[in-house]
């Protein structure tokens, strides 16, 4: 017998139509809401025909929506559509009807996919068509921008719906679908955070924040943090003697014009769309093997049930274990690292709860205890194994220091200074830093013991102990991975002369020629460009700017002071005294700006800019003479802060500091972010004084 269905085995228009009509509010409501935006623009245009909007500005706004709005909208909308389209799978009656119909699984699957994609895209089509119509009528039209936006919308819609589809075929329970879907999308970043949190509590030097190494497995996070809208502006000087203000070019003002807009890293959307194809393939394979009787099961795929059971147990053991530990043992913890036995007990309790909760969900019954001891024992062994692996550092994480040839670039922070280093240019300094790192890592037990003791003995002799010195080191390796460590440790004066200590290695490195050359841009290609000096004088100060000639002269003088040893050394112990570190400096700010021509990765020529701030002390003869000769200061204005503000260094101030201390932190893009381009800043400068406090300074591009 000839059957109609034989002609369209892979698509059933009746079912397609039924899906769209049954769930029409799902696509009609967002279509209506979406249509309001272009209609609102239309009313604005009608009210103000001279509304100034360029095609590029419009494209930029499209791209902003693509980068920030589209992933979130698609994430949420896709699960609603998937719930609607695949709802028949979760009910024994409906799955019975659908699988009795003369349509093959392929037909049901493809029809469902097309129905879902239609629901996903109809609101965009309606909104987009209206937007193009409205903006096109007002002469604002950029075909490329629209084309790219359409591709992104289709790509992300497809990916998110595919991911929701694959989850729909993993589960047989309508309520589990959205839960598993969001777990699917955010598990990677959550586990990254959890593992880092866990490891940080055990492993010396490990940074406790989110690493992002598997962020690509959480597409929403990855898309929102990587796809960007790049804009380029051209500034035009408008000469206007009447209304303009005085500028270096005369009377007038600068007008910015948007000259180009691009979607940076938009290819990521295409990669996820391809991943969506793979996910659909997996979903189809699961459907082919899916048993209709699995309707209602939390996990419908047989082999995934143990994965779910032990995955839930493991996550529960780690997250719940940490929570229980923090609640019941956190205040008893003696050092910076977790107490392994209480944590193991907390993990066992949380793991057991997770294990039985997973079993109950899988069995759809509360009676899951009989005969479950084997699984429980396995969960317990895993929890203890995780604790032991971390506690004994079985993977050698604490002592891992990359070799020079493994490093692509690196950053280092110590003694109030940041360094951005490249192996080709700074090999010697990198080796010195590696030696410091290795020395710190090998002294982990000593540092832990010291920190533990010093916490309760902070009133120790301040001339012998410098507490809580921080070192941060980040290696970015050629294989794309990174090693990041952060240490806080005491410096002990007696150990500064012992070559077998990290105190010695760090002091030598910080006060060594290589690090100074790096801090002051001596012989590293940076050219002094200009600068300023601010002379403090009570409530009023005097500011002077100067050009490249003066800047070069000052830097030559600074270099001479360094060579003559009159620039001073970094004193690890002076910060124990309230503002004492600044007391003997001249009361002035001296800043120099540098520039360096560079060739970017794409072959284009560019310029790096940098700024430093120099602390000037009376013993810096060459620098002081240069300032006097250049007329940037005179003998009367050169006073130390102790001379100028004696009240700041009184006994009462020191007493207050001894009692309360002080600390401050500033937050700027890291040097790595600048080097790798993940920050919008164009260059980085190290504002460093003569071994004094330093801040990272970033100039906008």
């Amino acid at each position: 017998m000839q059957s109609k269905t034989s002609f369209c085995e892979f698509f059933n228009k009746t079912l397609f139509r039924k899906n769209l009509m049954r769930f029409w509010p799902l696509w009609a409501a967002p279509s209506f809401i979406g249509a309001l935006f272009p209609l609102a623009v239309l009313t604005n245009l009608l009210r103000d025909p001279h509304w100034n909007l360029t095609a590029l500005q419009l494209t930029a706004s499209y791209y902003e929506i693509v980068t920030y709005g589209l992933p979130i909208i698609s994430l949420c909308y896709a699960i609603l559509v998937a719930i609607a389209v695949w709802s028949y799978l979760f009910n024994a009656r409906s799955v019975g009807l659908m699988h009795t119909l003369p349509v093959r699984r392929e037909g049901l699957f493809l029809t469902g996919i097309l129905s879902g994609m239609a629901m996903m895209l109809i609101p965009y089509v309606i909104t987009g068509a209206l937007a193009i119509l409205v903006f096109g009528l007002s002469g604002v039209f950029n075909p490329m921008g629209i084309f790219v936006t359409i591709l992104c919308v289709i790509g992300e819609s497809f990916f998110y719906f595919s991911s929701a589809t694959v989850v729909a075929f993993i589960t047989g329970n309508l309520f589990a679908l959205p839960v598993l879907y969001f777990i699917f999308h955010f598990l990677a970043v959550a586990m990254d955070w959890l593992v880092n949190l866990f490891a940080t509590g055990f492993l010396f030097g490990l940074q406790g924040d989110y690493s992002g190494v598997v962020e690509y497995l959480s597409p929403t996070v990855y898309l929102m943090s990587n796809v960007r809208c790049d804009r380029q502006y051209t500034e035009t000087f408008i000469s206007d003697a009447i209304h303009g203000s005085l500028t270096p070019d005369g009377y007038g003002y600068y007008e910015s014009e948007l000259t180009s807009v691009a979607l940076r890293d938009g290819w990521i959307v295409a990669v996820y769309a391809l991943a969506g194809v793979v996910l659909l393939g997996i979903a189809y394979a699961l459907y082919r093997r899916r048993r209709s009787e699995s309707a209602g099961d939390v996990v419908a795929v047989g082999w995934m049930k143990p994965v779910f059971r032990y995955g839930v147990a493991l996550c529960s053991a780690m997250a719940g274990g940490l929570a229980l530990y923090a609640i019941f043992w956190g205040s008893f913890q003696s050092g910076d690292t977790y107490d392994v036995i209480p944590l193991a007990i907390a993990m066992l309790i949380a793991g057991t709860i997770g294990y039985y909760a997973a079993n109950m969900l899988l069995a759809k019954s509360l009676r899951v205890f009989r005969g479950s001891w084997k699984g429980l024992a396995l969960t317990a062994v895993c929890a203890v194994a995780i604790c032991c692996t971390m506690y004994f550092d079985l993977f050698g994480v604490e002592t891992r220091v990359p070799t020079l040839d493994q490093i692509d670039h690196m950053t280092f922070y110590a003694a109030d200074n940041n360094y951005a280093l490249l192996p080709d240019e700074d090999a010697e300094l990198i080796e010195e830093i590696r030696a410091v790192h290795l020395a710190i890592a090998e002294d982990a037990d000593y540092i832990r013991a010291m920190e533990q003791n010093l916490r309760y003995e902070s009133a120790k002799d301040r001339s012998e102990f410098s507490l809580h010195n921080t070192v941060r080191v980040n290696y970015y390796l050629k294989d794309g991975t990174s090693v990041s460590r952060r240490y806080s440790f005491p410096i002990v004066r007696s150990r500064l002369e012992d070559p077998n200590t990290y105190d010695y290695a760090l002091d030598r490195m910080v006060n060594g020629q290589n690090s100074r050359n790096k801090r002051f841009h001596l012989n590293d290609g940076f050219i002094p460009m200009n600068g300023y000096i601010y002379l403090e004088a009570g409530d009023e100060g005097h500011h002077h700017s100067f050009g490249d000639r003066e800047a070069r002269q000052i830097m030559a003088a600074v270099a001479n002071d360094i060579a003559n040893g009159t620039c001073g050394v970094y004193n690890w112990f002076e910060s124990n005294h309230y503002d004492y570190s600044y007391a003997m400096d001249y009361a002035l700010d001296l800043g120099i700006e540098f520039q360096k021509p560079v060739v970017l990765a794409d072959g284009q020529n560019s310029t790096d800019y940098d700024s430093i701030s120099i602390r000037v002390r009376p013993e810096m003869d060459h620098t002081v003479n240069a300032l006097l000769q250049l007329g940037l200061a005179d003998q009367d204005s050169l006073k130390t802060r102790l001379e100028l503000f004696p009240e700041n260094y009184s006994a009462e101030a020191q007493e207050w500091f001894d009692k309360y201390g002080y600390a401050y932190e500033t937050s700027f893009p890291t040097p790595t972010e600048v080097i790798t381009g993940s920050s919008s800043a164009a260059s980085i400068g190290i504002i460093g004084g003569a071994d004094g406090p330093t801040e990272v300074f970033v100039t906008a591009g």
């Binding site: 059957s3 034989s6 079912l15 039924k18 049954r22 019975g96 699988h99 009795t100 003369p102």
Partner: protein
């Protein structure tokens, strides 16, 4: 012909079907009976392509049912819990069935409208359970199926409507050669319409015969013994015996002639064969496999 051979189906270790085998001749009305949990609905879900067997074969008209869209276009089924879209009325579901089943007859649908007398524009979920069942029959019969598979089909229908629906189905069998497989607990009703019967228990088909064969294989006799004999002699193989006054009613697993001959040696005053109901056959066949008669829901 519907053929099920040695089908095994396991749910989480429980054997719902354990080597079930049955054959439904083309154009016959086959009644599938058995206690609760025997596997009747499971076997029907295999025949409609919902379940895939772990082992064995499920074929209709010589073709495997699983994923056979062309074959399934010739099969219509009414499960015990028929599904309809929650917001749909009869007309909506008719359009859906019409789009799905190539042989759907609008003409028949219109003809049956007068039989069922249900407002097409009423939402189905607002109809009573019996009326929903009528809608299921209305649509299913409009699909003009060659194979009609029904699971507890007339539950909830009033006696008049039951008779009406059976009449329609018997008409299809007679006119179009439709093959009907029906599972039911209502043995009295099946007895009137079925020409073949299969009895299931614990995932297997214990026996399947034509109704005539079944009735021929078991006999129910009313016997009056001569004076001096109070009971049926122990050597007579009786499945069941009861007594009212001097009249003994016995059931024996043999045909009437053989049973009469066995009893003749005791010179009974009366031996009279009376028809066995399907219900009695069902009870005494299953009695052999330790089925507790008291548990049967009849």
């Amino acid at each position: 012909m519907i053929e099920v051979k040695n089908v095994v189906k396991t749910f989480d270790g429980f054997h719902a079907l354990d080597g079930a085998t049955l054959t439904v001749p083309t154009g016959s009305v086959y009644g599938l009976v058995g206690p609760n949990g025997a596997g009747k609905s499971t076997i029907i879900r295999h025949l409609t392509g919902i379940y895939r067997q772990d082992a064995g074969e499920v074929a209709i008209a010589g073709e495997t049912v699983w994923e056979n869209a062309a074959l399934k276009a010739r099969i219509a089924a009414i499960p015990d819990d028929w599904f309809y879209y929650a917001q749909s009325n009869v007309r909506d579901m008719m359009r859906f069935y019409k789009g799905m089943y190539p042989n759907f007859s609008t003409e028949r649908y219109e003809k049956l409208k007068s039989v069922f007398n249900i407002d097409e524009k009423r939402t189905i979920r607002r109809l009573s359970k019996g009326m929903q069942k009528q809608v299921a029959f209305w649509l299913t019969l409009s699909c003009m199926p060659d194979y009609l598979i029904l699971d507890e089909p007339v539950d909830g229908l009033d006696p008049v409507m039951r008779r009406q629906i059976w009449s329609l189905m018997m008409g299809d069998v007679a006119e179009r050669g439709t093959t009907v497989l029906v599972s039911s607990h209502n043995l009295r009703e099946l007895e009137d319409v079925c020409d073949h019967v299969g009895i299931m228990d614990k995932g297997t088909v214990l026996l399947e015969r034509s109704l005539a064969q079944l009735q021929d294989n078991m006999v129910k006799l009313q016997v009056v013994l001569p004076d001096g004999m109070a009971d049926i002699p122990a050597e007579v193989p009786v499945l069941h015996a009861s007594k009212i006054g001097r009249i003994h009613t016995i059931i024996m697993r043999m045909n009437a002639e053989e049973a009469t001959a066995r009893l003749a040696v005791y010179n009974p005053l009366l031996v009279d064969a009376v028809p066995l109901t399907l219900e009695e056959i069902f009870i005494y066949e299953l009695g052999g496999v330790d089925y507790a008669v008291k548990d049967i829901v009849l």
